[in-house]
Each structure stands twice: as C-alpha cells, then as structure tokens.
C-alpha cells in the first residue's frame, strides 16, 4: 500500500495552472524528494496533500484511501512559512499543537521533553517563543510537527534558514525517522541534499512532472559519460575525437564524452602519450546537472 498516491491531479488558481496532471506515489520507509524551481507548484502540490486546498480534478489518496480529514492525524506537515505563537511559552505551545493532533496532555508533555532532549534544545523549554533565536524556533517547529508520531511526514523546504550544524542534525533525524519506517516527503531545490538522502524523487516544472522514479532509475536514464581526471604532462589527449566538451584546469580536467564507450579509449590515448595520470574517474551526471538540463530544456526556469 502506498502512503501517498496522486493520480492526475490538477489545480488552477484563477487563470494560472499551478499543478497539471501530476501523478506519483510514496511507499512506506521512503525518503521522497519533490524537486523543482521556484514557482513550479511544489507548495501547491503539498497543500493538496494536507487538505488545505482541494484538487480541481484528480485524486489524492492517503494510506490507500481517498483524502479524508481524519487521515491528517497520521500526517505531519511543516509548511515553508514557519509560524509559532510568539507570546506563548515553548512548552505550552508544543502541548497545544500536540493536543490539536489528538494527543492527551500528559503524552504531549512527555514527548515534548523527549524531543527537546533529542534535538539538544532543553534550555528553550521554559522560554517564550519570541525570546528564541531563529534556528531554535525552527527546531521547536520541527518538534511540534513530529509530536504525534506521524506515519507520513511532509516538509516544505525544511533546510531553508538552517546553519550547517542544525541542517546536519535535521538530516540525521530525518534519516532516523525513515529507518523507523515512516515515509518522508520534502521539497527543496538543493540538489546535493537530495542526492545524499532521497530514495525517490519527482521533478516538476511549471506544474508538470518532468522526471520521476527511484534515484537509481532516474540516474540510469543518463549515460555515464562524465570523466574527471588529474594528471601531469602532455594534454594532447584532450583532442581525442570522442570528446564532446572538455574543461582544462590546472592539472585536472573535466570531460564530457559523446558516448560511454569513449572512456577507455581516452585513457589509452593519454597513457600512450606519456601523461602521468593520478586519477581517472568515469561518473554519472549529478542530480544538479540533470535538474538544470531538464528544466532548461523546457525553457522555463523562473528563478
């Protein structure tokens, strides 16, 4: 059973089509990346999953059933626009949000303390929210989202505004949650994180799906035609006819080949010419390259 399933979902605001014929599904225990440039429809898609808006056509299924508000008790949602009650005490706030998601007061209190310890933020517990730093508020928000032990966690741009230390802590926590069997969907446009963390992705642009599948599937669709090498000596091998494009740096080069088979030939030519090679690596394209290539192929990076 898929945790989330979107079937031909479409959403139009006034005359602007925000999401068009979008379908994907997320399995339990998966880290799912929803990618796309700014204004591509990520937030609109997420809002339909948590019932803030309804699709104009198509179906959103949660836990195998058509969308019902009851299902939201098993879902966590961290919106891109974070918000907490500024004047409220942190612990009151956490308990209140926990209760809204169906916890009783004692459980909400207990779990709040546990989470604050886990995220190393116990000193914030007795304070008012407005007294906290931005990073601490993010952590509190994160805790508030997870208190009710949701099976599906949806996060819109979770890393925006986090320093590297806290971003790493968040990544580790998300991986832990994934390993506990929860499904996690997050949107971002930072490809390095997606590449490290995600099991599956869906790339959308202008509300339409451009690319989707597991990380392996997606990458295997692209040829392993990147070569990175470090060397000393003659650079004549860069004139090899199999090379489509080459960038020469000080003692290293990045080469894109016309096809995968050209790599061995290139290596042979360089060795024959007496070039001293210390590194020669054949690579698949990075997700970032795929992203830029696919999105600009549509000619529509809104940035």
């Amino acid at each position: 059973m898929s945790i989330v399933q979107l079937e031909h979902v479409r959403k139009v605001y006034d005359k602007k089509v925000a999401v068009e014929d979008l379908s994907f599904s997320i399995e339990p225990g998966t880290m799912f990346g929803l990618l796309g440039p700014n204004g591509s429809g990520k937030t609109s898609t997420i809002r339909m999953m948590v019932g803030i808006t309804l699709p104009d056509s198509g179906v959103v299924r949660l836990f195998g059933e058509p969308f019902k508000r009851d299902a939201l008790k098993r879902v966590a949602y961290l919106p891109e626009e974070r918000g907490l009650y500024k004047k409220m005490k942190v612990i009151d706030q956490l308990v209140f949000l926990g209760q809204l998601r169906g916890l009783d007061e004692a459980t909400a209190l207990k779990r709040s303390h546990e989470w604050c310890e886990r995220l190393q933020i116990t000193e914030a517990i007795p304070k008012k929210t407005e007294e906290l730093s931005k990073g601490m508020q993010q952590k509190i928000q994160f805790i508030a989202t997870l208190l009710h032990e949701p099976e599906l966690i949806i996060m819109d741009e979770p890393f925006s505004g986090l320093d590297p230390v806290n971003a790493t802590l968040l990544i580790e926590t998300m991986l832990d949650l994934r390993n506990e069997g929860r499904a996690i969907l997050f949107s971002t446009h930072r490809m390095d994180q997606v590449e490290k963390m995600c099991d599956a992705i869906c790339l959308i642009s202008r509300g339409k799906e451009v690319l989707s599948g597991t990380m392996r599937e997606v990458k295997s669709r692209y040829p392993r035609n990147r070569v990175q090498m470090t060397f000393e000596g003659d650079t004549g091998f860069l004139r090899n006819p199999g090379i489509e494009e080459a960038k020469l740096y000080n003692g290293s080069a990045e080469v894109r080949l016309k096809d995968e088979s050209g790599a061995q030939q290139l290596l042979a030519q360089a060795v024959n010419a007496g070039t001293h090679i210390t590194r020669f690596e054949v690579m698949e394209p990075t997700l970032e390259e795929i992203f830029i290539q696919e999105v600009s192929a549509g000619g529509n990076v809104d940035a």
Binding site: G51, I52, L72, K73, E81, Y85, K86, L97, L100, Q141
Partner: protein, 415 residues
C-alpha cells in the same frame, strides 16, 4: 470537530487572561467610566450658578426681590450688588467693573409701558447656567412683586412661591416602587458605556489576534490539522469568554459596591445604584450578541488585511456604527419609548446598546424585545456566514489587499 474548537478557545482565553493588558483594562475602564459619570452627576446636582453680578433697576422693590431670588434661590447662589435707582454715570461704572472683572456681568432692567425689559451684559456669551438662573429668578421676582402690589399677604406669597418637589414612582411587574430617576440613569449609563467599551475592545481583539496569526504564519501550521471554521469559532468563543469574564468581574464589583454597607463606606451612599436581575440578564445577553455581531465583522476585516496599520484604516467599519449609538443616546434616554427610540433599537448594529438601555431605564413592550432579538440573531447569522467564507480564503492570502470584486469571489467559492 468540537474538541478542536474547545482547544483553540482555551488557548485564546488563557493567553489573553494572563496578559497585563487584561488586568489593566479590567481595572481601569470601570474606574475611569464610573468616576467620570459619578463626577458629572454629583457636579450637576450640586452646581449652582455662582456668578457675581450687578442688578441695575429703577424699581428698587423689584431689584431687591431679584437679589433675594438670586442669592438664596433653589439653584443659584450668586453674589448680587443692587444699584437702584441708577444715576447718570452708573452705566459707565458697571461697564468698567465688568471689563476689570470685578463683577462677571450686569443686569439692566428698564420698565417700558409697565413691562420690564432686562438686558444682561457680560464678558462671555456662553454661560448658560447663569442665563437660566437669571431668567427664572427674574420671572419669580416679577410675579412676587406683582402680587405684593395687589396687596397679597407676604406669608401667602412665600407659600405660593415655594418650590415643589416631584417624586417619581415606577411600576415593574405590577408593583409600584419609589424610583430615583437619577440613580436609575446612573446605573444604566455606567453599564451602557461598559458594554460599549467591552464590545469595542474585544471585537478589535478578535481582528488583532487574526492578524497576529497571519503575520506570524501560524495559520499554515494550524490549517494542516483544523478547519478554518473551527479556528474562527474557537477564536470567537475564546475572546468572547474573556469579555464575559471581564464583565463578570465588573458586575460582581458593582454589586459589591452597591451593597449598603460598602456603599456608605465609599461615600457613595447618596447615589444608590441598584441593578435588577432582569437588567443584568439583558446586559449579558445583549453583550454576547453585540460581541458576536461586531467581532464577526472584525474577523472578516482581520482576514482581509495584512497588518495592524492596515487594520487602523478599517476601524471605521466598527467604530462608526458604535458611534451612532452614542449620538442617539440623549434622545433615547429622554424618551425611551418614542417611535424614534423603537426604530433605532431595532437596527441590528444599534440593538445591543440601545435596546439594553431602553430595558434598563423603561419598560419596553415584550414584542419590541422579541423583535430586537430575532432581527439581531438573524443578522449575526448572516454576518458570521459571510465572515466564515471571507476568512477561509483570506487567511491564506498574504501581500496585496483584496479588492471588492475579489472578496465577492471569495464569498462565492464553494468548499
């Protein structure tokens, strides 16, 4: 889900009751209001015209009678110099005295074909109470003098001219009881202003609280679990309960103060305030309805605007209908059951304050009360329905303020 509404209301209530501003408004509003009204009532009761004037008349008897009236009259305690009969330079003398502020003014009386003609000259032209005192004193002096000339016995004149006290009684629930018009007004007045302040304060608090959630972006977090309607209902319930708590404190304090021993202790014994149970029920009932009506309007405004500053521009929508109630206060008090008062009390935006006032100071027919409640409830329903629809869309809109056509479109959106 009702439990969500309850949780939201509880949060709203606790967060508000704990604030300093709740404490301050609860203490300060009745103190200022009660103090101000008490002061003006006491002042108007004991204020007598106390000017120092000169009376110039050829007729000495009339001048002396007038002096007596003005110095020892029912509502004047003036100091009066009599110049009678005037000489050639008297006029210049009194004009100079007035200009030098030795006296406040002078009254010049001529007798023209047996009919006295009086002119009062002073430095100011707006001393209404002095004018009224002089006018009534002059009339009484002329009557007294006239009777004296006709040979009426002085004792008889005194008896005839003695002031008459009018006592008032009211019939309530078939029982006749002595009423003190002044204290009835006083009580009704205080509660009228308290309701005015409470509806205004808490209505605007609803708008402010919505804007706060909007600017802090809590809405998105909340909406992933609760419906917008639940948020709005919880908010109205929470803020409304704060208002009721405040009013409860006021009513208890008023009852405590009006209890006999307390009243004499604080020296307010002269002004005995009494609230009947019916009046208190009417007060609370109309407060709740007034709060729902105005806070419903305020909630719609709160959902449409993006900041406190923008809210200020829309204050009028709330403040103006409330101000109308203040403008009609005097005609309604002076004649609470006139057609004008009845019509005003049936206009929904005025009903809570004006109908309550009519109930407090008179006995309006039951069908007037029933009609006011029915019309008011229907209006509240309509306002809340519209507000719920504006709210649903408005709270997720940031940035540009919506235009009227856009708002109409929000209202037409289905779920």
């Amino acid at each position: 889900m009702p439990s969500n509404i309850f949780l939201i209301a509880k949060r709203e209530y606790l967060e508000r009751v704990r604030t300093k501003s709740f404490l301050v408004t609860t203490m300060l509003i009745p103190l200022l209001m009660g103090g101000g009204i008490l002061f003006s009532v006491v002042k108007s009761r004991h204020s007598k015209a106390a000017s120092h004037i000169a009376v110039v008349a050829a007729d000495t008897d009339l001048a002396l009678a007038l002096q007596d009236e003005l110095e020892h009259g029912k509502d004047s305690a003036m100091q009066v110099d009599v110049i009678s009969p005037p000489t050639g330079n008297t006029r210049q003398a009194v004009v100079d005295e007035t200009a030098e502020k030795q006296i406040d003014g002078f009254l010049w009386i001529d007798v023209d074909k047996g009919k006295p003609k009086a002119i009062y000259t002073s430095m100011s032209n707006a001393d209404i109470s002095t004018m009224q005192s002089i006018e009534s004193a002059l009339r009484r002096a002329i009557v007294r003098e006239g009777m004296q000339r006709k040979g009426v016995d002085a004792g008889e004149i005194k008896l005839m001219m003695a002031p008459v006290d009018l006592e008032t009684e009211t019939i309530r629930n078939g029982e006749i009881s002595k009423s003190d018009t002044m204290t009835a007004f006083f009580g009704a007045y205080v509660l009228f202003f308290l309701m005015y302040m409470a509806v205004m304060l808490h209505g605007m608090n609803v708008a402010r609280s919505i804007i706060e959630e909007k600017t802090s972006r809590v809405f998105e977090v909340m909406l992933a679990t609760v419906r917008p309607q639940e948020m709005m209902a919880g908010k109205l319930l929470g803020v409304g309960s704060v208002g009721l708590t405040q009013i409860g404190i006021w009513v208890l304090a008023a009852l405590g103060l009006s209890a006999a021993p307390m009243a004499s202790a604080v020296g307010a014994g002269a002004i005995h305030i009494s609230f009947s149970a019916g009046q208190i029920i009417a007060f609370i009932g109309y407060f709740v309805m007034g709060f729902l009506l105005y806070s419903g309007m305020a909630a719609a405004i709160g959902a449409m605007v993006n900041s406190e500053q923008e809210l200020q521009q829309f204050n009028m929508v709330i403040a103006l209908p409330m101000a109308v109630c203040m403008f009609v206060l005097v005609p309604v008090i002076s004649n609470p059951n006139s057609p004008f008062s009845r019509i005003i009390s049936l206009i929904p935006t005025c009903t809570p304050l004006i109908m309550y006032l009519r109930i407090a100071i008179s006995n309006p027919p039951w069908y007037d009360i029933a009609a006011s409640v029915v019309i008011l409830l229907a209006t509240i329903y309509g306002v809340l329905w519209l507000t719920a629809r504006i709210y649903r869309v408005g709270i997720l809109m940031y940035g540009k303020r919506p235009t009227l056509p856009e708002i109409l479109k929000w209202i037409r959106y289905s779920d």
